[in-house]
Amino acid sequence: MKHFSFLKRKEPLNDTQLLMAITIGIFLIMYVSAIMLFGGGFNHAQQIFDMLNDNASLIIVSCGLTIVMIGGGIDISVGAVTSLTVMSCVLYLNRGGNIYVSILLALGIGLAFGLVQGFLISYLEIQPFIVTLAGMFFARGMTTILSVNPQKAAHKTFNALRAKKIEISWLGYKARNGNLVPARIELGVLVALVCVIFVFLMLRYIRMGRNTYAMGGNQQSALMLGINVKRTRFMTYVLSGLLSGIAGYVFMLHTGAGNATNAAGMEMNAIASSIIGGTLLTGGVGNVIGTFFGTLSLTTIKKIVVTSGLNDPWWQSITTGGMLCFFILLQSVVLGKRSKKKNT
């Protein structure tokens, strides 16, 4: 059975897997050291669930951005689209709208942005940065036009849905008064996990996902290999838009209010999550599981900063910036070492 062992030979990690492994490793190290340094809150499972509860929409947006970035593009409209979705849905619900229609509305807004931006970028071949920059300003402006003042959702069914939480008692902890507080997970987290799994499967097993990698690796080659590059690129932006819409709804489930400054800077956090998760800005390399852990790493470091008593918001920005630098440096060192090894 010599042949068999030849075929089964394990391949060394490719760049995507390697970068992802690094991210997961660093997340674990960070989290464990947080437990050792601060103990307390980090000991409880709820800490992780809180991180997920707070960042479910960021995770979803990052998934979309990862797809776009693997394809060699960029989408900076995601945060603004999320914000517009939140505001639109809250206003709609407050006028006595139907909850199912509000979901469709969220999907529709995301999809519309994805379709238009994707069309401009893929078929009219306009720079993605410019198109999505315009999309970002447009969506932000629209949000403000809809309402300058914050709007709180006052829809019965919606608020009931919002209050629904999954409770896991064996992961809970005893509060000081002796009562057991079960771990609470919001519905949005489930949506986020479904999105992560869907995008993971798509990038790995579905033709369009593989074509995205090919396109990001070498667009000219992808074209020569018979891939419909325009359609593939179009689809990446449509998915990104759609996921922004979903993220908007999840955001609304979490905060229960629309605000013109909702999700401000989310696009940058999403880009940071993708990069920390091992997606290369140059395209062709990346993985959504990495992005998931990228978001968690980003959140953990912010939590650590806050827990150490540096409560001012700029400390979070500074550490986020530092971490991004560190990861990019690490990536280029590791990948540089590899390509050197390959050449000798």
């Binding site: 030849f6 075929l7 030979r9 391949e11 490719n14 760049d15 995507t16 097993y205 579905i206 033709r207 369009m208 593989r210 074509n211 990698y213 090919a214 990001g216 690796g217 070498n218 000219q220 080659s221 992808a222 020569m224 290999l225 018979g226 891939i227 062709g284 390399v285 390959k342």
Partner: protein
């Protein structure tokens, strides 16, 4: 009734604005034949290929595949109809696995079944004897293997006509032979192969027939064994043989004992081991050796292109320090890089801007060259070097390879160098331009410029150089002058047999 060929192209016309790129060209390909398509740059061979692969639409003529007339709309359409092309630059995705590169863009349906594709890919690879695993990333394979994977893809798509466009230009001898074995194997399976190359030896090593184009017209179709190499060359360039041989006579000329211009002792860089080297005024010498023997690395050290790590350098007897290209330029050294796309031309800039580039760097930022001055320079060199360009403001990227090379040459000549290093100046360019560049080198030497010349073609080096430094495994293993300058001796030295 005419004989049915695998592929027949009849009276193909292709017009570009102002140029008739193809003028009634015929081309036929038989089953199981390796057919070399030869011609200078601008002869129309790449236009013909592009018409055949659907990149261009022809303006007149007819294409028949297995007797059936057909119209080809796009490269993808050509592939579907059984015409596949493997280009000089690999057009695969290095970030995907070998198996994916063979199958991507071809299947239907939503899901991709990696496992079964991998199994099929392994079968194809082992059938064709390609040393790669299906699960390996393409980027981790050597260039030669990547090229073979491209061929494997074409074969698996049931291609009847396989076009190999300059497939060997980045391969070493061993890899070339492996590729040839694969080509012969495909030939025995009945695939018709169109082989485009600049290497005459390879044409004779592997092809059955040769079609020669010149200036967009068909010169003729010949059986390879009936067409001597020297006649092929004269058919390609349309010049008579005397002109060719007159060049080789200049080889007899020896440099008189002039003073030494440049001298290096123990020069080394991050890429090159220490070596000694000297060149006299008006001398043409060369570094030779196999690919990877360190010949390019050595001249890059002279120019300071890689980080210099040691050694002493004297120019005109005075010690100088050259640690980066600008130092070398200030001391009158010019360097024509091996990879003109990467190190040489700036494709988006015009011919004029590319020509004055080096002079501008020498002058420094604060002494701009006036527009009229630069136009005059550009016009002068376009004329002197016979650069074929629409105007001096044409982007260099749109020129043919040979003419790009001349632009870079003009760039260095404008700085009036004492010493010019030409690393593979003739690679990938047509025979006619090659000859022009060789002549130019000899003329420069007569005018007192020292030239170091590197080429993969030993014959070309013998024709131009009066001294050859032979390298093997990054060491200088010999210097040949005078009577020792012949093919046998060079081969012997490279192979390791001492004189």
């Amino acid at each position: 009734m005419q004989e049915e060929y695998l592929l027949t192209m009849r009276r193909i016309d292709k017009r570009f604005p102002g140029v008739l790129a193809l003028n009634g060209v015929d081309f036929t390909l038989r089953d199981g034949e390796i057919h070399a398509l030869m011609g200078e740059n601008g002869a129309g061979k790449s236009t013909l290929i592009k018409v055949l692969t659907g990149v261009y639409q022809m303006d007149g003529g007819e294409i028949r595949l297995e007797g059936k007339p057909m119209v080809i709309h796009s490269p993808q359409d050509a592939q579907k109809k059984g015409i596949s092309t493997v280009y000089q630059e690999i057009t695969l995705c290095p970030n995907l696995t070998v198996a994916e590169n063979i199958f991507i863009g071809r299947g239907k349906g939503v899901w991709v079944r990696q496992k079964s594709l991998e199994k099929r890919a392994d079968e194809i690879l082992s059938k064709l004897g390609i040393p790669a695993r299906s699960t390996q990333l393409l980027g981790s394979c050597s260039l030669a293997v990547q090229q073979m994977v491209a061929i494997a893809r074409a074969v698996d798509m049931n291609c009847k006509v396989l076009i190999l466009d300059e497939p060997t230009s980045s391969l070493d001898d061993k890899e070339v032979n492996r590729l040839f074995d694969l080509m012969r194997d495909l030939k025995s399976r009945g695939v018709g192969i169109i082989f485009v190359t600049h290497f005459l030896d390879q044409v004779y090593a592997v092809s059955d027939r040769i079609t020669v184009l010149r200036n967009g017209e068909l010169v003729g179709e010949y059986l390879t064994e009936e067409l001597p190499q020297i006649q092929l060359v004269s058919k390609m360039i349309g010049k008579e043989l005397e002109e060719l041989s007159s060049l080789s006579e200049t080889e007899e000329k020896k440099t008189e004992e002039k003073e030494i211009l440049y001298e290096a002792e123990g020069l080394s860089s991050t890429e090159a081991l220490p070596f000694d080297f000297a060149i006299r005024r008006g001398e043409v010498n060369g570094f030779t050796g196999l690919l990877g023997s360190g010949r390019s690395e050595s001249v890059r050290a002279i120019f300071g292109a890689d980080k210099v790590t040691g050694g002493t350098v004297r120019i005109n007897g005075k010690p100088v320090k050259i640690s980066k290209p600008v130092d070398a330029m200030k001391h009158g050294i010019g360097y024509l890089a091996e990879d003109r796309k990467r190190d040489g031309i700036i494709a988006e800039l015009s011919v004029r801007e590319n020509i004055i580039l080096a002079l501008q760097v020498m002058n420094g930022m604060f002494k701009p060259i006036s527009r009229s001055e630069s136009e005059a320079f550009a016009d002068e060199y376009i004329k002197v070097l016979n650069i074929k360009t629409a105007s001096r403001e044409t982007p260099v990227g749109s020129l043919s390879g040979g003419n790009q090379q001349k632009v870079i040459l003009a760039r260095w000549l404008l700085t009036h160098p004492d010493y010019l290093i030409l690393d593979e100046p003739t690679r990938g360019i047509d025979v006619g331009t090659k000859l022009e560049i060789q002549k130019l080198v000899l003329k420069l030497a007569e005018e007192g410029v020292s030239v170091t010349f590197i080429s993969s073609e030993v014959e070309e080096m013998l024709r131009t150089c009066s001294r050859l430094i032979v390298m093997r495994d990054r060491h200088v293993v010999g210097e040949l002058t005078g009577q020792d300058l012949n093919q046998t001796q060079v081969m012997k030295t490279i192979a390791g047999g001492e004189a």
